[in-house]
Amino acid sequence: MTNFLKKAALAVAMSAVASMAAADGHGERYVMITHTQGTDPFWPVVEKGGRDAAAAIGATLEYNFDVSGDMAAMAALIEAAAASEPDGIIVSLPDADALGPAIKAAVADGIPVVTMNSGLESSKELGALMHVGQPERLAGEAAGGRAKAEGVTKGLCLNQEAFNTALVDRCEGYFAGLGGDLNMIDVSNDPAQIETRTAAALEADESIDGVLAVGPHVCEAATKAIEAVGADVHLACFDLSPGVMDMIEDGRASFTIDQQQRLQGYMPVIVLHLYNTAAGLLPGNNIASGPGFVDKSNAAAVKALAGIDR
């Protein structure tokens, strides 16, 4: 009997502590759901950003994704998260049609939602509070504008996922900033084919003097192609990897655009925390996590954090 009373007293004490923590803005629970399939080194940085933010405010963060990459499965994860009544849901939005109903249902249930990474155009109409991410076309334009300023006259964009609209936006933006018609090739995710197809395209048109690679592994393979062809080509990249940092430091790549994805994990947690604990306090606009430029001037400093906090 005394054992039971001890347990009961402990339970009462714990619930009292929990309610005090909740009153103090602590004890919040947030769920983050992204469209990664677990194969991309980009997303662990987002996840870490979210966990760091949750730790900073004393909240807990659950991170979920579906390895199949199937949008219906991702929608089911959003529905399951909403059913668990968290204090907020953070979700990437690659397909508004597939994920929209689940997000709308969560919002209708009174759960605040922040979208991040992709889905800027659809975020507001689905009822999300705001969006944290990089406007991809604008990032591409920034890359194209800088390439033009650095002397590029004719470009080539290397896209490893030709069906990914965000990557196509980067390419289209690049040519909007650079000037000229879209010249984009599907290089696949296979390093050997990235290298050989890039070399083939540079051989086919010797007037190309600028290349944009919209992924870090593509950039690494493209360097080998440029060296093999023996061409003087301006190379710009998107996103970070140790290899890309080395290439910038030794001059093989001019710059890379960093979408600063840690912010895509970190900021939504902070936004939701302030919204929940300060009477609906919200920034006046979406938060653009990028573009940030990494070039020779800051590559060494960024390199130390690449793949962890950058």
Binding site: D40, P44, D186, A192, T196, A200, A204, H217
Partner: protein
């Protein structure tokens, strides 16, 4: 009803008739058409010094796994786990090279990483083979299950051990290790050295880089330096694998067993063919081919990630079919697979040498070639088997 009679069997065939009736003839014709078309469309650039190296790199890469897939298909089975096996093997080698051998056995050399990985992949091949032959289940379903299983194991291992699904920035082991060099280095350098020497002689004679001879002939890049130093190491492995497989299939008892197993399993068993051992061995062989592919990738690029090898099983099967291998087993040739690999490799890469067309058309061409090759191969098969 066939028009052939007993007398036809005794007729002497000409060399041409015998050649036309070979199983790889369809693949050979398709290959020649593709080579001629791409040479013309790219103004020869698809086969200049760099074009040749790059095309052969892709051809060899596809060919290595297609030989394994074709041998298994001739025996009447499928392996859909090849792509995931590539991912698993690449992950295994990269993690060992970065974090050391398992069970605290110390630092991993390239040889140790390769052999330890090979033991694991051959074990998986043995397990798959045993499940197929002992359960009687379709190899399509069993290997589909392993496609998911191995890809999942690869992801989980990357996350647990590496906290990321990618290992990049491994040291370049090719500098110090002959093992890394034979997988990731360059071979047959003498060929390109000779090509460079010839190119220099032409330059001495007053020819320039834009002259027509150069498009096909000179191993000099835009800066006037030697352009290409050698072929990718995959080329060596592809030649070796093709030669050994061709010898086994055409000249040994094991080759006869493989054809017999695919043609009629029960008849083969009744004639003393160890059908189960043949099939298990071939599943292990496809695992070996996948490991070889992964080793070349890891040691060339000093990187690996959980998505490597994605969809490669489909390319392997497509190449085997283009090469004249019958989906139902018992018919096909390794030489045909070599021709198939050349055809598919060129279509997947050389179209990017043609500035007038969108490179994404390669998938359309690939689909069309696959169908054309199947129709051609079926006609040839009927001619060989007398319309059966």
């Amino acid at each position: 009803m066939s028009d052939r009679s007993e007398a036809d069997r005794l007729q002497q065939e000409t060399w041409l008739q015998r050649t036309i009736r070979r199983p790889e003839m369809g693949a050979f014709i398709v290959m020649i058409v593709i080579i001629v078309a791409l040479t013309w469309a790219s103004s020869g650039k698809a086969f200049n010094a760099l074009g040749l190296k790059n095309n052969i790199q892709i051809i060899a890469q596809y060919g290595i796994i297609a030989i394994g897939a074709a041998a298994l298909m001739i025996a009447g089975e499928f392996d859909l786990s090849i792509g995931s096996m590539i991912g698993f093997a690449g992950m295994s080698m990269a993690l060992m090279l970065k974090w050391g051998l398992p069970f605290g056995l110390g630092e991993a050399t390239p040889l140790a990483a390769f052999l330890a990985t090979l033991v694991m992949t051959l074990t998986f091949g043995w397990i798959i083979g045993n499940i197929v032959v002992r359960s009687g289940l379709s190899s399509f379903i069993v290997t589909l299950a392993f496609l998911f299983f191995l890809r999942g194991v690869t992801e989980v291992a990357f996350r647990l051990i590496n906290q990321s699904t990618q290992v990049s920035g491994l040291e370049d082991f090719k500098e110090d290790s002959w093992v890394a060099w034979i997988f990731g280095g360059e071979v047959f350098g003498w060929f390109y050295d000779a090509w460079f020497w010839i190119g220099q002689r032409f330059v001495d004679m007053g020819y320039g880089r834009t002259d027509q001879w150069f498009t096909l002939g000179g191993n000099l890049n835009r800066r006037g330096e030697q352009w290409v130093d050698g072929f990718d190491a995959r080329f060596f492995w592809f030649i070796l694998l093709a030669a050994v497989a061709m010898f086994i299939m055409n000249r040994t008892q094991l080759g006869n067993w493989i054809y017999a197993t695919g043609d009629n399993k029960e008849a083969a068993r009744a004639n003393g063919v160890p059908v189960n051992r043949v099939k298990i061995g071939l599943f292990m062989f496809t695992a070996f081919c996948a490991t070889l592919f992964a080793a070349c990738q890891v040691f060339e690029n000093n990187t690996s990630d959980a998505a490597k090898g994605n969809l490669m099983e489909l390319f392997a099967i497509a190449i085997a079919v283009v090469g004249g291998t019958l989906m139902t087993g018992g018919f096909g040739s390794i030489l045909g697979v070599v021709f198939g690999a050349i055809t598919v490799g060129l279509v997947a890469n050389a179209v990017f040498f043609i500035p007038e067309i969108d490179g994404a058309w390669f998938r359309v061409f690939l689909g069309a070639i696959l169908l054309a090759a199947v129709f051609a191969n079926e006609r040839i098969r009927k001619r060989i088997t007398g319309g059966i």
